[in-house]
């Protein structure tokens, strides 16, 4: 309970979302301008790519582990026969 209480207290001093000074008024430049173009569809692409690559990377990791195991088993079987 003390832990929860301290976390909630820590969150008290944070800037409120209704802060008028927090609204950005400058025009986006550089990569930000690229990402927000076309109604920010590129942000959607970035998110989907992140998920896709993350899953594919994990698939490849598991694939490599399986292949390494298969190789070891093959070698062991060859040794047994020899």
């Amino acid at each position: 309970m003390l832990y929860l209480f301290s976390v909630i207290t820590l969150l008290q001093g944070q800037p409120k979302w209704s802060d008028p000074n927090g609204i950005p008024t400058a025009q986006p430049t550089g990569y930000e301008a690229l990402m927000v173009s076309n109604d920010k569809i590129w942000v959607v692409l970035a998110v989907v790519l992140l998920i896709w690559l993350g899953i594919v990377l994990y698939l490849f990791r598991t694939e490599r582990k399986i292949s390494a195991l298969e190789r070891t088993l093959e070698e062991a079987k060859q040794e047994r026969l020899a």
């Binding site: 979302w17 927090g22 950005p24 930000e32 920010k40 942000v43 989907v48 992140l50 994990y58 698939l59």
Partner: protein, 230 residues
Amino acid sequence: MTLAVKKRIKVGIALWMTTVVVAAFLLSAATNLPILEETARNLYFHVPMWFTMMMAYFVSAAFAIQVLRTEDPKWDMRVVEATRIAMLFGVLGMLTGIVWSRFTWFLGTGKWWGSDPKQMMAAVQLLISGAYFVLRSALENARLRARISAVYTLFSVVSMIFLLYVLPRLTESLHPGASGNPAFDKITDPTMRLVFYPAILGFFGIAWWLFDQRVRLAKVEEEAESFFIV
């Protein structure tokens, strides 16, 4: 479930998710919201990451209970793999949230991280989840390792409910559902749910697919080890 049945289900999952992704980009509902604009479509991707993480955690908790009840090592192996999958989706959810917020909440400010309670609590939860693997590496005795890490899993699932569900609703936040924001169902166009719910199901399926792969890998690893001992 036989291997053939599983294969058919996996093909089905692949087709389902392909349809979901295509529909996510074709359906034009509610994509002209201020600031969000087209990124409203991220709803179909970012949010299911967290739903999937939570589902994987609940599954690992169920396995953890089995570990404590039966002390059968096969449950311990499943707890590990389920936690691995949960971490994968948690990290993906975090990364996608950071990218999404960079160009919506923090547009023009150059910030990549903010003081949003849900985001902070999610980061804390990911640390708690990561510590599970650190804990396991510290314990040598297999039986002890299984039992202690199972208890840790149960603790971390309880903390997840608090950090991701209870705390963010108590404080001000830009995430929907917190005080100062309408709840998720009030702002979501009904047409979006047509893609959102299938997306959740599809990602659940992908999580199960990855989990099944890792379980098969763990089984083969065990067999290979006993092969060499003989």
